[in-house]
């Protein structure tokens, strides 16, 4: 191990391994596992010495490398039925993972070399990734949503004890329901979404379903003006290409 410290941020154990393979000028399909393992562990040591956080994934890979190294030392074929060895090179699985990772690493570099919007080329508005939503609507804050939720819960009749049957509604069912509504109509008012809800539980489940869909960008919650009605709409479909 040379004393020259080369600090690079590795994206993960596979990235570090690829780096070592390249540095040693060896073939990815014929990795000198002892050398690479040694350098890999040395790099981890270095990272730890510098008090950099070594993520768990790096340690798992270290264990994998040591395991492969030990299996390489065993004579091939006469191991008396150890389940894993079928005369395969113990490095095969690692090689497969490295090659796959490398492929996407290169694909990422290719993407980066394209004419990237707002970095290399610009449009008139110059902030196309800023998704303000259509028609000048503004995004609603969580606090406004919670306030709206409270208004709806407060509207529930207080004297509903006599209800005995516990209706089980899952967040998933509500998510489906909400998406169904938005397939039938472009948008729905926040308030009317809760119109049919009869219990506190149902209101909360509906609310959670709505948040879940926002999180995965399936729907969008917008408001035309401060304190105006809150509208829920389907997020722009990825197939429905930009209608400017």
């Amino acid at each position: 191990m040379s004393t020259r410290v080369e600090l690079e941020i590795f994206e993960g154990p596979l990235d570090l391994l690829l780096h070592l393979i390249k540095k040693n000028e060896v073939s990815i399909t014929d990795i000198p596992i002892a050398t690479i393992t040694e350098q890999y562990l040395a790099t981890l040591d270095l990272l730890q010495t510098l008090s950099l956080d070594v993520a768990g994934e790096f340690l798992v890979m270290a264990a994998t490398l040591i395991h492969i190294k030990s299996r390489m030392l065993l004579p091939v074929g006469d191991d008396g039925g150890d389940d894993e060895d079928d005369g395969l090179d113990p490095r095969d699985e690692l090689v497969r993972r490295l090659r796959e990772y490398q492929r996407y690493k290169e694909a990422a570099q290719d993407l980066d070399q394209r004419e990237v919007l707002s970095r290399d080329v610009f449009t008139r508005s110059a902030s196309p990734t800023e998704d303000a939503g259509p028609r000048g609507f503004r995004e609603v804050s969580v606090f406004e949503l919670l306030a709206a939720l409270k208004r709806i819960i407060d509207r529930l009749p207080k004297d509903s004890f006599h209800e005995v049957t516990l209706e089980k509604i899952t967040v998933r069912e509500k998510m489906t329901h909400l998406l169904d509504i938005l397939r039938a109509q472009p948008s729905i008012l926040f308030e009317s979404l809760f119109a049919e809800a009869s219990s506190r539980m149902e209101i909360i489940v509906t609310f959670l379903a709505m948040l879940e869909l926002v999180k995965v960008r399936a729907i969008r919650i917008v408001q035309e003006e401060m304190a105006g009605p809150i509208v829920i709409e389907a997020a722009a479909d990825m197939d429905g290409v930009a209608r400017a």
Partner: protein, 191 residues
């Protein structure tokens, strides 16, 4: 309407549009002009702008047409606009590349390829609208399957997903295609 007249209208529309305009959209606005003609005129505009020393280019992106600045003038435009360009880290780019080529794909599948946790990156990509949940996978836990968005195409100047450069060593890779164990998001909860 005169051909050149329509061409000038198209140019104006392209100038004000805040996203790529499809031929369909042009046809709706400039009614009475057929799509073939619009398409031809857009091609003309495109080659007009390819002349040397033009500061704009007409690109075909995300299924539509959009005016963008010439790449060579990028630094000047940046100087005018100020602010720092949104740099995309390697983790983000790699994750995005995996999603682009392998969509629809789950978080666990991405992690298997990258060998690291991608929680934070997925959140960033969702926030930047570059990916979205497109379906749920019909396996235990029904994890979300992610796919790229129109914004992704716009960001990387791609017309559609087939525009992505071919992966090196494409032996075991299939291009985006919905596999059978996938349930569309809308019906995911019904069964």
């Amino acid at each position: 309407m005169e051909r050149e007249e329509v061409k000038s209208i198209l140019e104006s529309l392209l100038f004000v549009a805040d996203g790529p305009l499809t031929v369909q959209r042009f046809a709706e606005v400039v009614d009475g002009v057929d799509k073939a003609m619009i398409h031809g005129l857009l091609q003309e505009l495109q080659s007009d702008l390819e002349a040397p020393n033009r500061g704009l280019q007409l690109v075909e992106v995300a299924g539509g047409y959009q005016l963008r600045t010439a790449k060579i003038n990028g630094d000047w435009v940046k100087k005018l606009l100020g602010g720092r360009p949104a740099r995309m880290g390697r983790a983000t780019l790699e994750t995005l590349a995996i999603i682009a080529y392998r969509q629809p794909i789950t978080k666990a599948e991405i992690e298997a390829i990258r060998g690291v946790d991608v929680d934070g990156v997925i959140t960033t990509l969702l926030e930047r609208n570059l990916i979205r949940a497109v379906a749920r996978k019909d396996v235990p836990g029904r994890p979300f399957l992610y796919g790229t968005t129109t914004e992704f195409l716009q960001l990387f100047n791609l017309n559609d997903l087939t525009d992505l450069p071919t992966l090196k060593e494409t032996d075991e890779i299939s291009l985006p295609e919905i596999s059978r164990d996938v349930i569309p998001l809308e019906q995911a909860e019904e069964s």
